[in-house]
Symmetry: C2
Subunit: 218 residues, 2 copies
């Protein structure tokens, strides 16, 4: 993945909105598999990039945080972008310059809307449930105070583009004659054994949704 592969010009982003259902399905699948996104907002003329969690709910991307967050306060007054990147492998080529990554990436562009108070609890529950399937039915319900104390933003998925690289390296024609091993080293993410909070005050069985963590996630 060089910056060449990933240059994304605004005209391209704009054009994506007109594309076919295939692209929307691809974009949604990438957004759903990822949980981490990087949000770009302009603060004092600087394009800052903030990592945060996201979930896709219907045709919206949901972001949340403290009402005191300057990123969130700024984001709701401007057009922002949100980028999600899934790494699938290191591409080892026969020459240094053709080294690359296999990856799936999505950039969403838009002006976020503030989710109103009466929808916040349901939206936050949906976000937590999508990130950690099975968790919400297991917890105590969110209080009104908790929901009120959180800012929730909804970014409509009307302008988004996917960028994907798969497969072996693409080398210079003459380099295929060299006795150099080339190929792909796959990258995967895995979940380790759950670590129980040392502050637990009672014996509680580790629930199924934790032992099989995110196995039912998209």
């Amino acid at each position: 993945m060089t910056t060449e592969d990933l240059r994304t010009e605004r005209t391209t982003v704009r054009r994506m909105a007109e594309r076919a259902a295939y692209d929307a399905a691809t974009v949604y699948a990438i957004l759903d598999e990822a949980y981490l996104c990087h949000v770009g907002v302009i603060v004092d003329d600087l394009p800052i990039v903030i990592p945060t969690l996201h979930a896709r709910i219907g045709d919206d991307l949901i972001l949340h945080g403290s009402p005191a967050s300057r990123m969130l306060r700024t984001a709701k007054t401007q057009e922002i972008s949100v980028t999600v990147t899934l790494v699938d492998g290191f591409v080892l080529a026969r020459s240094a310059l053709h080294h690359s990554m296999n990856y799936r990436s999505v950039m969403v562009v838009g002006r976020p809307e503030v989710v109103p108070d009466h929808e916040k609890a349901a939206t936050l529950d949906a976000l937590v449930e999508q990130l950690t399937p099975g968790r919400i039915p297991y917890l105590r319900p969110m209080t009104d105070k908790e929901a009120r104390g959180t800012t929730v933003l909804r970014l409509p998925l009307t302008e988004a583009s996917a960028k994907i690289r798969t497969g072996p390296p693409g080398d210079e024609p003459e380099d295929y004659e060299l006795p150099i091993w080339a190929g792909v080293v796959p990258v995967t993410e895995s979940y380790g054994a759950p670590e129980t909070d040392p502050a637990m005050r009672m014996d509680v069985e580790v629930p199924d949704h934790v032992t099989s963590f995110r196995s039912s996630a998209p």
Copy 2:
């Protein structure tokens, strides 16, 4: 990791430059362990966020790509930010709102310099070698033409800040009485069995630096 955890205001970023050696060591370790970064640049008034590969070489962050890349052409005329995020675990709390992530993140802010032609090949070799240790001595040397055809940027690490969360959830005091399992599910990245390029024209042993891929990476 909520946006609350990660709000990063420009004043904070500015202040980081004055911090102690401990912080520089922490920032450098995070930049070195990561290979993927997200670059924020302003294009047509929009803060776009582009994933790309990076390497730290000395006190600089190295980015590269095609001279045709609008992101790179734009980046070298403005102040940008580069964010790196390593995910360490899902933090499962007793209430929905205290769910979080364990992570280590760095944001670097600055104005990139263009690496001059005569330094490009060595800089690109160092980048590839840091990302895939052992690879460069195994490859044919980069040609002058290849080096000239690549834009290489150097972002001085003078303004950077780290943000780190570790440990178990922090719940509301009364929730510790609830019979709810709480703790952390660790997240790790792993490398699968190397997949040989189907276009290989001869039998070549998989070299050690591939079978033990990135085991000597930072």
